[in-house]
């Protein structure tokens, strides 16, 4: 090869390598054959290292592909990098800058897609903080007409709930997402039915929080659906017994019942639940 004047011999362009197609094709074919033979050995380990429910997230949102690239490219350092971006998002939160907050939080989430703390925090910003800032940017509560303020609150609260629903696609058994969603539905949207639905879903997760079950049953009773409430709540109790969580469940319910008013719609039903749990405990020979 003749080197061009002024071009060092070291800087050979790629075209020179590409001029040897025979050897290149041979090497590539060999590597494909070897890779096909060896590939199954790596599949189990590679799958065990994927982010949680990655295939489902990828099917639901193309953003997951970006997360995958970051996971692959940064390895363990992505956790630390995500924390730095989340801190930066916090500093923007202190300045009440919605756009910057969103950007940094989104980057943090792309770096650490499984981080529940960041997901929960961002959903709460969306629902509680961002609408207030938006109204302030439009001139403040005294200038913006009330219907418009309400519309902004509703829009952002729904965005917070939608974000939590997306998070549940990735991590379906995360009770915290459902609890936060029910709080947003209740406090911001004043939508009791929506909030009760989230409590029902929370009570059906493996950690099955008692207060969610009690609140859902209370909602049904308040809306004249006492029989449905009783059936559903006693099935919940039976599930606790089947899971071997009966004794713990009895303690929870007794404690919870002592904190609510005797006039609460679910008070009697909780008593029935305790009796059923006690009976199951006696049948097993549990000591109190």
């Amino acid at each position: 090869m003749d080197a061009k004047p002024g071009v060092q011999e070291d800087s050979v362009p790629f075209s020179v390598h590409a001029r040897r197609p025979g050897r290149f094709a041979l090497g590539l074919t060999a590597m494909i054959l070897v890779g096909t033979a060896l590939g199954p050995l790596a599949d189990g380990a590679a799958r065990a290292s994927y982010p949680k429910n990655f295939a489902r997230s990828l099917a639901a949102s193309p953003e997951a592909a970006g997360e995958g690239v970051l996971v692959g490219a940064l390895g363990g350092l992505r956790t630390m990098t995500a924390d730095i971006f989340w801190l930066r998002a916090y500093s923007m939160w202190e300045r009440r800058e919605r756009a910057s907050c969103t950007t940094y939080a989104r980057v943090a989430l792309a770096l650490a897609p499984d981080n529940r703390f960041i997901r929960e925090g961002y959903a709460q910003w969306l629902a509680y903080d961002f609408p207030v800032w938006s109204i302030r940017d439009l001139g403040g509560m005294n200038r913006v007409p009330e219907p418009e303020q309400e519309a902004i609150h509703r829009r952002d609260s729904r965005a917070g709930i939608a974000f939590l629903e997306d998070s549940l696609i990735r991590d379906p058994d995360t009770t915290r997402y459902l609890i936060v969603a029910s709080q947003i539905a209740n406090i911001k949207l004043k939508d009791e039915e929506l909030a009760a639905g989230f409590h029902r879903r929370a009570a059906e997760t493996p950690s099955a929080p008692l207060f969610s079950a009690a609140l859902y049953a209370g909602y049904l009773i308040r809306h004249g659906r006492s029989d449905e409430a009783r059936d559903w709540f006693l099935r919940y109790i039976d599930r606790l017994i089947a899971q071997g969580a009966g004794h713990r469940g009895a303690l929870w319910i007794t404690n919870y019942r002592s904190m609510i008013s005797k006039d609460a719609p679910e008070y009697e039903l909780l008593g029935e639940g305790i009796r059923r749990l006690d009976l199951a405990g006696e049948a097993r020979g549990d000591t109190k």
């Binding site: 070291d10 800087s11 050979v12 790629f14 020179v16 390598h17 050897r23 090497g27 590539l28 060999a30 590597m31 494909i32 070897v34 890779g35 096909t36 060896l38 590939g39 050995l41 790596a42 599949d43 189990g44 380990a45 590679a46 799958r47 065990a48 290292s49 994927y50 990655f54 295939a55 990828l58 099917a59 592909a65 995958g68 690239v69 692959g72 490219a73 940064l74 390895g75 363990g76 350092l77 992505r78 956790t79 630390m80 995500a82 924390d83 730095i84 989340w86 801190l87 650490a112 981080n115 529940r116 703390f117 960041i118």
Partner: protein, 274 residues
């Protein structure tokens, strides 16, 4: 002198020469410092367990600096032999080209293994100490101690040694046919990025079934899947049964790729004009 002795001689010389490189010392010290800083930086941790944060930071530093060195060291050492014409002198003696290339790989790999052991000792030492403290507090409060599998940690360290061996082998494979160091640096880094992200491409291609998608996914098998070695959480802090057999399969996968890449590289190097 047997073939093995000649390979070991080249490996020892390569390791000795590599150990004198300042960038290796700087990168090693930086990686150890980042790993050691976990106890200070854990105040910045959001949402993850403290032990996981320490592991992420330490092994993240190893991932970053180790990968860079696994690309830079082979290219630098290989092309310094070429540029200084010492390779000609060596190969004029009864030293076969495949022995030269294998010795180069073993020398670099030994040094990278030393780096893995250093960073892993710092990181796992910190995790073990903190785990003992947390376990004592948890026991006193009647809670379950967090999981920390020492056997899984040892297997993960082995996986990292193999992973860096694969990166070094693929870089030397590139050096075997490349004419310039610059091309080899670029191609080595390219292979590294592809190896880390090929799982994503395959996952996307196989998410729907069609002939071209399946064919392309099969062709991507030509790139060693480096994601198979990123099992820190699953092996060290397993939430359920640790994927031990899958990890051992990944070790075999890596070692076989190293052997194949060295073989292919030797074939290309044999036909190369020096």
């Amino acid at each position: 002198m047997s073939s093995l002795s000649r390979i070991l001689l080249v490996a020892a010389n390569t390791a000795g020469e590599a150990a004198r490189q300042k960038y290796l010392i700087v990168a090693g010290a930086l990686a150890a410092a980042v790993a050691g800083l976990a106890s200070v930086l854990r105040a910045m941790n959001f949402g993850d367990s403290e032990l996981k944060f320490t592991a992420d930071l330490g092994f993240g530093a190893l991932f970053f600096f180790g990968s860079l060195l696994a690309v830079v060291l082979p290219v630098h050492l290989f092309f310094s032999e070429m540029d200084n014409r010492t390779a000609l002198t060596l190969l004029a003696r009864p030293l076969r080209r495949w022995e030269f290339l294998t010795g180069k790989l073993l020398g670099v790999w030994a040094l990278l293994a030393g780096l893995v052991l250093l960073i892993s000792a710092v990181t796992l030492g910190m995790i073990a100490v903190r785990h003992a403290e947390i376990a004592a507090i948890a026991e006193a409060a009647g809670y379950r101690a967090p999981v920390f599998e020492t056997g899984g940690a040892a297997l993960f360290v082995l996986l990292q040694v193999v992973r860096l061996g694969v990166v070094a082998a693929i870089t030397l494979f590139t050096c075997a046919y490349a004419r310039s160091a610059l091309f080899s640096y670029g191609a080595g880094l390219g292979w590294l990025v592809l190896g880390q992200t090929v799982w994503l491409a395959r996952e996307w291609l196989l998410s729907e079934s069609s002939v071209w998608r399946t064919g392309l996914a099969a062709a991507l098998r030509a790139i060693p899947d480096l994601q198979a070695f990123n099992l820190a959480d699953a092996l060290i802090f397993p939430a359920k049964a640790a994927p031990v057999s899958a990890a051992w399969q990944a070790v075999v996968y890596g070692v076989l790729w190293i052997a194949v890449l060295t073989g292919l590289g030797s074939f290309l190097f044999k036909n190369r004009e020096l």
